[in-house]
Symmetry: C2
Subunit: 307 residues, 2 copies
């Protein structure tokens, strides 16, 4: 039997588990809600182990059939030592030697990575970045995350936190960001902030992106302006990335990228206007292709690279 | 006889040539003024060839003693095809196959690179970046240039123009930059702009950095403010670089870095205030160590890597 990878994508809402073959296809999956275990590290760990065991037995698999586990986590991870340093949205996870715990309990080699880095690996190998040596992946959501592939390798940086595109400042004096900095890209285009702005623009408290898309289809000029401003901020941030890194491709993902029709033309225009001629004309701006599976598919890439 | 590298650093004012041994030491040197040949490609080429030949014969060397030529150029270079695409400050250099020309005329293997990339290679291997896997080099002068070492390799980008830190925007709406963008770092801290500003602040037309240093020593508060504002702009730009790339070191060079005493403490403070905690605490901000020789020493690193 061909060896499979077990990909695990830990999110604030749920944990997705997938069995991925060596062609990057998901051949079995399950998920666990994170919410009941948000405040107890051991309960979350227990639920995770139970989910792994039930997925394997359901598929008639033993640990010998799994070449490795790749796990993506929403926070600070030390992939070299296999330690979860800190998860901002799941309490109790501080300096947890998760690699060692899972290897001891499951007997399967395990590798940890930041969740956006796993998505980046997945998109690079099997998605929108296939065959591209140098690329940037950005995820737009409540947070704005990023991952970098440089010379066909995931680039982690000296402290394993490279790729924080969401915290590149757009302005020298700007609004305070949750990170403690000022004027960060995330502070302009993170979901919370754009929806707060939309609530004011459209005079509606609980507005969401579906509403705004509907307004756009109805030809509402305020909706046009809303997308234009958001795309301008994203384009301004990416112009700096384009000039600094001269990537061949920028892959945009996350829930908000479903609005690519309203965002991407303006993002491309701003990059063309503001970035240097050569890097602006070298770069292609595209959507992610693997959707919600990017992380678990990326786990296969990580494990195959590490083992 | 131990093989030597011939390093050539082409600048707008002069061309420096140096014989560099395999310990990164310059063991012979000469230079040619660029000015008389600024408008004729062939004359500049002739002067360069003559300088190479006279340096070799002066040192009793033959082409067999030279393992390769590394040449740094102030502009757009295609290092893979060995072509000088464009030099903004030396006219007549458009799509010149300089590698082929020099190899044919001199019979020595030749490698081309952007000048700041050569400085970066030199500082990484023999200067302020020794032993560092991931670093950023920034040169402050009329232009603000940059070079990136990632995973112990020079990172060139998809169009060979990576590292343009000087053209990262500091503000979404900012003054027009020579590159066609707006609010670029260079537009705030390039020599021309800071000296224009200084002329106003100090009510003196032809002020230079030596004057401003003198004012600082005299305790002039306007001089203190001048450096502080300049360092704040640099720090704001580098905060974005730090969050995106999480480098272990940022090496600052160029003429302006002679004022490190007035600039560096504030640059470090701004990075600490604005960048994320981990990358801000990982990075060390240091001066270049090789001074004007960084480019020709970097040529040795380039040639040794390529041959």
């Amino acid at each position: 039997m061909k060896k499979l990878t077990l990909g695990i994508d830990v999110g604030g809402t749920n944990i997705k588990l997938g069995l991925v073959n060596n062609l990057g296809k998901v051949v079995g999956r399950t998920s666990v809600s994170t919410r009941p275990y948000r405040h107890s590290k051991n309960q979350l760990l227990g639920a995770l182990l139970a989910a792994v065991r039930s997925l394997l037995s359901e598929q008639g698999l033993k640990k010998e059939n799994i070449q490795g586990i790749g796990i993506g986590l929403p926070g600070l991870v030390d992939p070299v030592h296999g330690v979860v340093n800190f998860l901002p949205n799941i309490s109790g996870w501080k300096n947890v030697p998760l690699k060692k715990i899972l290897e001891t309990r499951l007997g399967i080699k395990t590798f940890l990575e930041n969740d956006v880095n796993l998505i980046t690996l997945g998109e690079w190998k099997y998605g929108a970045g296939r065959g591209i040596k140098d690329l940037v992946c950005i995820t737009l959501g409540t947070g704005v995350g990023g991952g970098l592939i440089i010379n066909n390798q995931l680039y982690r940086g000296a402290g394993f936190v490279a790729g924080e595109i969401g915290h590149m400042p757009l302005n020298e004096t700007g609004p305070l960001c949750g990170c403690g900095g000022y004027g960060c890209l995330e502070r302009y285009v993170g979901n919370r902030y754009v929806l707060q702005k939309a609530a004011k623009i459209f005079h509606r408290k609980n507005i969401d992106f579906i509403d705004i898309r509907r307004f756009s289809r109805q030809g509402n000029p305020r909706a046009t302006l809303f997308w234009r401003e958001m795309a301008t901020h994203i384009g301004n941030g990416l112009a700096g990335v384009v000039n600094l890194l001269n990537p061949a491709r920028i892959i945009i993902g996350g829930g908000v990228s479903n609005n690519h029709k309203y965002l991407f033309p303006r993002i491309r225009q701003v990059i063309k206007q503001r970035a240097l001629k050569i890097p602006a004309s070298t770069v292609k701006i595209v959507r992610t292709q693997l959707g919600d599976d990017a992380g678990i598919i990326g786990a296969q890439v990580l494990v195959n690279h590490e083992i």
